[in-house]
């Protein structure tokens, strides 16, 4: 008994030493990482602050000045608010339509691209890397780039925004869809192939029923994102509620009640579609209605 203790102790001590050394080293690394991170944040903050027109500490006092002004003006003209809401409602519909169509078109594009770039499903297995790169590039293009260029060619309006968002959506959804496709069971495909089904038929009858709920769930999530994107693109000239907001803002002081109506509409729409989409997503992923 005494023997084992005297023999075991040095080993245990070694192990403990080793463990403590390991822990110290890990702590040192985490400490260094933390210091680097804090230094990056702090210096980044200072740089951004220097480059800004107004400094952070000056601005922080004024942060509520604009909202207060908007609220004051609106409450002074509360009678006009329903009329404003009714007036700007069609442009809200346009913004939502842009988001919906681009989700639809982008979803279709993404579906085709994802099927073409999933191993085991692809029509041309050799071209898988090509289609993947295409999706990467589509995903990397910020909507504003395409929108601004298309506004130059097609003129302002909803179509440039729609194309821009659909293009990006195609890449983004394509990537998510191909992750879904990878988990699809290939047995139905073998079955379909054995009876002579074409590639299109195999995809439509063999893959789609398996992946449709996940596709829909991702598309709904994307729809939420796209509503925000289409509102922003409106601000750079692509129609919809964002365009109206830009105009309302440019009227300046005294007309902020219009801006307030647009803020309300946009806020309401985003919250509404967030709720609806998360409700349906829960239903889709859990396979039953949530109470």
């Amino acid at each position: 008994m005494a023997d084992t203790v005297t023999q075991g102790a040095p080993g245990a001590l070694d192990m403990r030493e080793h463990y403590m050394a390991l822990t110290r080293r890990r702590r040192l690394y985490s400490g260094v990482m933390l210091i680097v991170f804090v230094a990056l944040m702090a210096s980044g903050f200072v740089v951004a602050n220097d480059r800004n027109a107004g400094g952070f500490w000056d601005g922080i006092h004024n942060i509520f000045a604009f909202p207060a002004m908007v609220i004051a003006e609106t409450s002074g003209k509360l009678m006009l608010l329903p009329a404003h809401l009714a007036h700007f409602f069609p442009s809200l519909v346009e913004t939502i339509n842009i988001a919906a169509v681009s989700t639809l078109v982008g979803g279709g594009l993404g579906m085709i691209l994802s099927l073409l770039s999933t191993r085991g499903l692809a029509r041309f297995p050799l071209l898988i890397p090509l289609f993947r790169r295409i999706m990467d590039i589509m995903r990397a293009v910020p909507e504003i780039v395409i929108a601004l260029v298309l506004i130059f060619i097609l003129g302002g309006g909803p179509v440039p925004a729609m194309i821009a968002i659909a293009f990006h959506t195609g890449g983004a959804l394509g990537k998510l869809f191909s992750e879904v496709n990878e988990n699809a069971d290939t047995k139905p495909l073998d079955g379909l192939e054995s009876v002579g089904a074409t590639w299109m038929q195999r995809m439509y009858l063999g893959v789609m029923p398996q992946v449709a709920p996940n596709y829909l769930s991702y598309a709904l999530l994307r729809f939420e994102v796209n509503i925000r994107a289409s509102a922003i693109l409106g601000f750079v000239g692509a129609g919809g509620i964002g365009y109206e907001l830009k105009n309302a803002m440019s009227w300046g002081q005294g007309k902020f009640d219009e801006a307030a109506a647009i803020f309300l509409l946009l806020f309401g729409a985003i919250v509404f579609f967030d709720q609806v989409s998360s409700h349906f997503r829960n239903r889709l992923t859990q396979g039953r209605p949530v109470s």
């Binding site: 951004a48 601005g59 504003i144 130059f152 803020f263 946009l266």
Partner: protein, 437 residues
């Protein structure tokens, strides 16, 4: 027997419902698209579309033109790339294809096309067509040796003669004679004309004789490239950095603000229902008031610049992160916290050793994912608030002529986003693997 019959009816009903859906869904989508085509006035688009704009854009993105213009009042001839002051050749050193002989200027457009500026007009030798001679005078305007039957690449009126061939474009008015010659590539991308390194290859600069007596070749070349007044490489690099900075500060700041708030919004950490409810509504509010509105509100307080963009991203994402983090916190395993608690650890240590290690991988991977997506958002927000590459892009597009710069910025933005995508993916994979081992 009755049971099977009932089942059969049920199955038949199910199948017919599915069949209905299979037909109804495409019909509904088509109907919606048709409505959109009308609502967005797609048929009218063909009329409004400016295909000439598209042509300029495409041509400009891979080629450039050099203007040779003669002021017909003073007789002065200038040669300038894209007609810009910064790209103007010195009067005594025009490019090799322009030569001066007295008050004549001979411009060789290549492939046998030669334009000569005479004191009172021009001549243009077009291979396969003949010599076009045109004169201008105060009294009679523009006159040319052309009949009434003009080919479609020439237009002639009393005020103006315009000729467009494969070799270039010529225009003649009373005040001004101009020739545009097109070249492939982006003009003066590395050095402008006033730099001693213009027209020298990389090998010559690196290994050849010293071109500028005051500076070492590589140092001087780098300085001149970096300070190129036409392409402003230094400013563009700074703008890219500013955009990434906006995304970084916004994302990380949001994560830092959202984490403590998420504890207050998670059921298993905050027993007080009203507090939880309040914090959650704050998250919903931050998310619901879109980034666009935050950008506008904040730029009112802070003025244009990267700080405003970073704060707009920070505000919106605090809402998103708060929601995701509190959901992650509600899923933590309570046993680890109990284990730490059983050693008599105080509350803070319990969180540090019982909770944080469990949620770090989830949190970090979400934060990294947002970092990539926010690089794109920062481009757009920059275009609105005025900061970063988004601002440069909108400025270049507004001028409607520097499409080669637009192309340059677009390529840089794509590279930037793909780099951030790659980086965030790499770190996320590292994190997940590190978490497992």
């Amino acid at each position: 027997m009755t049971q099977t019959a009932a089942l059969k009816i049920q199955a038949a009903g199910l199948i017919s419902r599915k069949r209905m859906l299979a037909i109804a869904l495409p019909v509904a989508i088509l109907a919606y698209l048709a409505y959109i085509a009308v609502a967005f006035d797609v048929p009218g688009l063909a009329e409004r579309a400016r295909l000439d704009n598209a042509r300029t854009l495409v041509a400009d993105s891979y080629s450039y033109k050099t203007h040779v213009s003669r002021d017909n009042r003073s007789g002065e001839v200038t040669v300038a790339i894209e007609g810009e002051r910064k790209g103007t050749y010195a009067p005594d050193a025009p490019p090799a294809w322009v030569s001066r002989e007295g008050d004549m200027t001979v411009i060789d457009l290549g492939h046998g096309h030669v334009v000569t500026y005479t004191p009172d007009g021009l001549t243009y030798a077009v291979p396969g067509y003949g010599l076009i001679e045109a004169t201008i005078s105060r009294a009679r305007g523009v006159q040319a040796n052309l009949g009434d039957d003009l080919p479609d690449w020439i237009s002639l009126s009393k005020n103006r003669l315009a000729i467009t061939t494969d070799a270039g474009r010529v225009s003649l008015t009373r005040n001004r004679t101009e020739v545009f010659r097109y070249f492939m590539g982006w003009e003066l991308f590395f050095f402008t004309l006033d730099s001693p390194y213009h027209g020298h290859s990389l090998a010559e600069i690196a290994f050849g004789q010293r071109l500028d007596p005051d500076r070492d070749n590589l140092v001087g070349a780098w300085q001149d490239f970096w300070a190129n007044p036409m392409w402003r490489h230094a400013e563009v690099a700074w703008a890219i950095f500013e955009t990434i900075l906006m995304a970084f500060l916004g994302t990380m700041g949001a994560a830092l603000v959202a984490l403590p708030m998420a504890f207050l919004a998670a059921r298993n950490f905050t027993p007080i229902g009203t507090l939880r409810f309040g914090i959650r509504r704050i998250f919903d509010f931050l998310r619901g008031v879109d980034g666009l509105i935050w950008t506008i509100v904040l730029s009112r307080a802070f003025g244009p610049g990267p700080m405003t963009g970073a704060l707009a991203i920070l505000t919106t994402d605090t809402g998103s992160f708060g929601k995701m983090f509190s959901e992650a916190l509600e899923n933590v395993d309570g046993k680890q916290i109990e284990g730490v608690q059983s050693t008599g650890a105080p509350v803070l240590s319990r969180y540090r050793f019982g909770v944080i290690p469990q949620i770090t991988p989830v949190l970090l991977s979400q934060v990294l994912y947002y970092l990539e997506s926010n690089t794109r958002s920062a481009t757009i927000i920059g275009a609105i608030t005025g900061g970063g590459i988004g601002l440069l892009l909108t400025q270049a597009i507004i001028t409607q002529k520097d499409w080669e710069e637009v192309t340059y910025y677009v390529v840089l933005i794509l590279l930037m986003v793909m780099l951030m995508d790659w980086l965030s993916g790499l770190l996320r994979r590292q994190l997940i693997r590190g978490g497992r081992s």
